[in-house]
Symmetry: C2
Subunit: 339 residues, 2 copies
């Protein structure tokens, strides 16, 4: 049996209460006793039992985290940021996955709440808003990559409109006039990216071209083939704002297959700055979301609530940034830069 506080107390010749004080770094313990207790604890290999502590103190150091899909590098990055911040502050993460199904997410959320966590962080959840509000009645809730109007809920989102605008500004700045967006369809954040694209294009006095696509490489290929079938070579968009990096890679494949060069004939911008984009082989110009930072902010928002420092909801809208790599170049009327 693992030693308990009682064992440490007996060995150190003090009361359990004193051991408790030492374990919580209370200042009102004499140095002599503290040392004795610490030594006894060390000798027995004692470690406080977080669950018992949580129960007795009616506080929790557990943060529930529900992830839409861990295989998605985006979420993995957010969780890493979350974990780093939580560890530094002495919190522990209980982690779940919802399998992208509302029903399963509901169970996962319930399971997290049964820990009576200090708070809960949901990464791009697909559960109905009512479920989120119900959770918010039990403990603070922070949403990442999903919005909410509930007052007990904080949100952390990337400003997809600004991100698309960044991409458009970049391409327009390079002289491109015919620019198309490969829309992410129903994917999280896709609507904002599309809106941002359209708004930015109009701001530049350009006609927005939106092609329905998805956040996968095969969809990117397909969409570009459609584009190629629709436009003559001379009218083909010379700039492409993809829904995400995967989509961009697919688009590049289809372009190259058709004998078009990137970036000489067509410039292309991705979205997300995944590890994929950074690969030298691709060197994709892309829009970066501060993912680790998003995790940190989510944690901080939660902790502010837990500590009662704030009751008003906070809505973080993070500003993305453009990472210029090798898939974008100045527009050339001759359809290619000089070689």
């Amino acid at each position: 049996m693992r030693p308990t506080m009682e064992d440490v107390a007996a060995r150190a010749g003090v009361s359990r209460a004193l051991v408790s004080l030492v374990m919580r770094n209370s200042p009102k313990v004499s140095e002599a006793r503290r040392a004795a207790v610490l030594r006894a604890a060390e000798e027995l290999g004692y470690q406080p039992h977080v669950m018992a502590r949580s129960l007795a103190s009616r506080t929790s150091t557990v943060l529930g985290v529900m992830v839409n899909d861990l295989r998605n590098a985006f979420f993995a990055d957010v969780v890493e940021g979350l974990d780093a911040a939580a560890q530094a502050a002495g919190f522990d993460l209980v982690l779940n996955t919802g399998g992208r199904s509302p029903a399963r997410e509901g169970n996962a959320l319930r399971s997290l709440l049964s820990f009576r966590p200090a708070g809960v962080i949901l990464l791009s959840p697909v559960v109905p808003a009512s479920a989120i509000e119900a959770a918010a009645r039990q403990c603070p809730v922070v949403l990442v990559s999903r919005t909410s109007r509930a007052s007990g809920v904080d949100t952390v989102n990337d400003d997809g409109e600004a991100g698309s605008a960044l991409a458009v500004d970049h391409l327009a700045g390079l002289g491109h006039r015919r620019i198309a967006h490969l829309d992410g369809g129903g994917a999280a954040g896709a609507a904002q990216r599309r809106r941002g694209f359209q708004a930015a294009m109009r701001r530049h006095g350009l006609e927005p071209i939106v092609v329905r696509s998805e956040h996968t490489d095969t969809a990117g290929e397909k969409s570009v083939r459609e584009l190629l079938a629709t436009y003559s070579r001379l009218e083909l968009p010379t700039g492409l704002v993809a829904g995400n990096d995967f989509n961009a890679v697919g688009a590049i494949s289809a372009l190259e297959e058709a004998g078009l060069r990137v970036p000489e004939d067509v410039s292309i911008v991705g979205y997300d700055n995944t590890s994929l984009a950074a690969l030298r082989h691709l060197s994709l110009t892309t829009v970066d979301q501060p993912r680790t930072e998003m995790g940190r902010l989510a944690f901080e928002a939660l902790v502010e609530r837990v500590r009662g420092e704030r009751t008003e909801p906070v809505r973080h809208l993070l500003h993305p940034s453009l990472v210029v790599r090798a898939t974008t170049a100045r527009f050339s009327a001759t359809g290619g830069v000089a070689r």
Copy 2:
């Protein structure tokens, strides 16, 4: 305040003990009472408090999981497999990251153990063996992508030697004779892959060429440049077994940069079958590890111990498989297939 068992008992007009029995699906409760309790619980929105339950029953449904690096898709996949199995069996995951530093991993592990978890799963940990053995004295431990001889420790590993052999057999079968391995250096599993490569080459009566590299794309580029500098065009290896997929992508870049075509001039096999490899743009032939399966097996090994069904350590060595895509082709003495 959230309702407790006492509240439910009062509302249903029964004792707390009876509510406890209902919550645990005990068969020795009359249907009438069961229904009454369930209704009262429903009305109050009652959910048992896992921590209190764990404390009282001296059992735990918590599994501690320490991940070397969540950003690495490999681990994210394993965790997904783990999570699916754990959820199905009613366990919860407490998750940590070690920041790839032994000291930080030590803290992370301690933090997990302070939950008195049913068991602990470590994904490619870098802590010293002694720390693992110490943990194993407190609860069952399963290691993924790391070996151990301790008797309280189960392990789940992919058979890196077999994986490399698969790659070599494939290339040799395509007629390649000069085959080089881009070694992963100190990375987890790199040693096995190298050994497997060497053994397989000898089995085919071929001379193994090993180039020191790392599991990154830039290292892959660098290594191929070295290869190009070392060998004349005619003596250049025509088959490459990369340390992992990233490494393979870097290698491809360097080859193309040098005017060599993949797979016409050089065939290349990756390792891990990451989402990267599946990208149609790359279509990398690669060795697949059953990652989700590894997570599931780790969970099962743990549960067997938790249930006391087994005390002997189990050492899973999973058989990888080859996924043939477009970066490998039959060797042609003319240095290229007919076009």
